[in-house]
Assembly symmetry: C2
Homo-oligomer: 306 residues x 2
């Protein structure tokens, strides 16, 4: 299979993972490397060495520029890349990129995260997701839409006229994880692996909630539905998952009926299934949105730094 | 001070604590003992020994009957006392009490918990709180009202005509604890101990929420308000506390403007403060509601079992 010439080393460097792709100018993946060297594992002063070990070979062989996004640009990362503020488009973010001049790898670009102040005056932040949204926009040619990036901290971003107008974080994934591991709710749970009835039941429970605090009541049903044999132990984890994801979608999408999901296969399946029950149709973004975003940001800036 | 004659040994035996009071027939506390011998710490077959160690002396000296409530009547307790179902009044619960015939302590009465099926068909349960509600009703002479028993699993009970019509559990206390201890939200928190601005800010945030899933967004503000220095580290724990308690109260009380709180001094203070911000006035129940409930249940049944 013929691929284009290596044109970009795209790095998604998060809290607990490191992922680099060697890409053609058209976004074809030529090579890739993934490790658990997230920023929490890398001591100050060690970032260049870790990056060199992962992509030094590509860099020497191809001379392709390196672009990084994710928590690597946070205060506790390699270098702090100050947040671009909403609303912001590709050009705004591209021009706020920070360049690290390294000895071994030449100039390395870091994409800033984004911040927003919501209608109540409360701030919100993201790092890396903005790049994926720009990648999805580039891939589809769309200039507007609602985008969800589910996960530990799900991000929902609204795009108009090619700019990210606003976004909001939902702690869905982390709330699910801590309740399952550390609360009484995990006690009755047995792993199953088949996404089905329990998940749907949770989504329907979410749809029936009216007041915000009712969520604190509904999650306790994970226990009582199990105690009263309304749901088998194998369905309880998915009930809680469906309840939280359903509540997130209903709150974040409001009356919008179409959105794009940028996620792993497992989470995409869950969001599509919950969306179908709630009247929201999800379109799946292409793979490697971060890489596509890096290409678009580099192009918007007029190429790599000298 | 002259007290009545010892007439009851009142035992509140929960998951992680054991508390016994020696009471006069008017509910005056003559003596008390409290240990951490909750049911999780007591092996099967050991309950009588643990109880004897705690109250055997009172029992021999006074001959007062023993009444127990709480998780001791659960399947994982000493003996299972099947739930009384809503609606249920003092007589219904009194007549569903279970008697354990012990060698060393004579007959010991166990108050059943209560169960309810909500309007969506989901079950809910409580053990011990029903006794406290009956105690509070007896103390005030009231026949109706809304009662909250805040805690790890807060219970809200509606009473009409002297009967508990329905109730609901909110996992507020446990959600707060696991988020503080095990999620990213605890990272920025510093203990303070002064209930103030952070708590009020959280309650106001709760009041501004519209959709249930927005709670998953609002809890993340505990982090971003800290990151952006909108709240000092010492106020973040109380922000999360106010947010969750505020959401619970707004959902459980709905349009009701008066309720009774049965809780420790610390939780009573928090609920009264949040209630004031949300337009709900809490009346504080007297101390020892469980004991008052035991007396009322014993009287309703016509005395101790022979």
């Amino acid at each position: 299979m013929s691929r284009g010439r290596p044109s970009l080393i795209s790095v998604d460097w998060g809290t607990s993972s490191f992922r680099a792709l060697l890409s053609s100018e058209r976004g074809e993946v030529i090579d890739q490397v993934e490790t658990d060297s997230g920023i929490l594992k890398v001591a100050p002063g060690e970032h260049e060495r870790v990056l060199f070990l992962a992509v030094g070979g590509w860099c020497e062989r191809t001379g392709a520029p390196i672009v990084m996004s994710g928590m690597i640009g946070a205060r506790q990362g390699w270098v702090e890349a100050p947040y671009a503020t909403c609303p912001a488009g590709l050009l705004d973010v591209a021009s706020a990129m920070v360049t690290i001049r390294t000895a071994a790898l030449g100039p390395v670009s870091v994409v800033p995260g984004m911040s927003v102040i919501d209608s109540h005056g409360a701030p919100d932040v993201m790092r890396g997701e903005e790049t994926q949204v720009f990648g999805a926009l580039t891939a589809s040619g769309a200039k507007e839409g609602l985008f969800v990036l589910p996960g530990t901290h799900s991000k929902w971003a609204r795009v108009e006229d090619g700019r990210i107008l606003s976004f909001a974080t939902y702690m869905t994934g982390e709330v699910f994880a801590v309740l399952k591991r550390h609360s009484i709710l995990g006690q009755l749970m047995v792993e199953d692996g088949v996404l089905g009835e329990g998940f749907d039941e949770g989504v329907r429970s979410a749809a029936g909630l009216q007041r915000p605090g009712e969520l604190l009541h509904a999650i306790f049903m994970t226990r009582t539905l199990g105690l009263f044999d309304h749901l088998s132990p194998a369905k309880l984890s998915d009930y809680l998952s469906g309840l939280l994801i359903g509540a997130e979608i209903a709150a974040a999408a409001r009356d919008i009926r179409e959105a794009t999901v940028i996620a792993s296969a497992n989470l995409t399946m869950r969001y599509c299934r919950a969306g179908a029950l709630l009247g929201l149709t999800f379109t799946r973004a292409p793979e490697h949105c971060a890489l596509l975003g890096h290409l678009a940001l580099l192009a918007a800036r007029g190429g790599a730094p000298a």
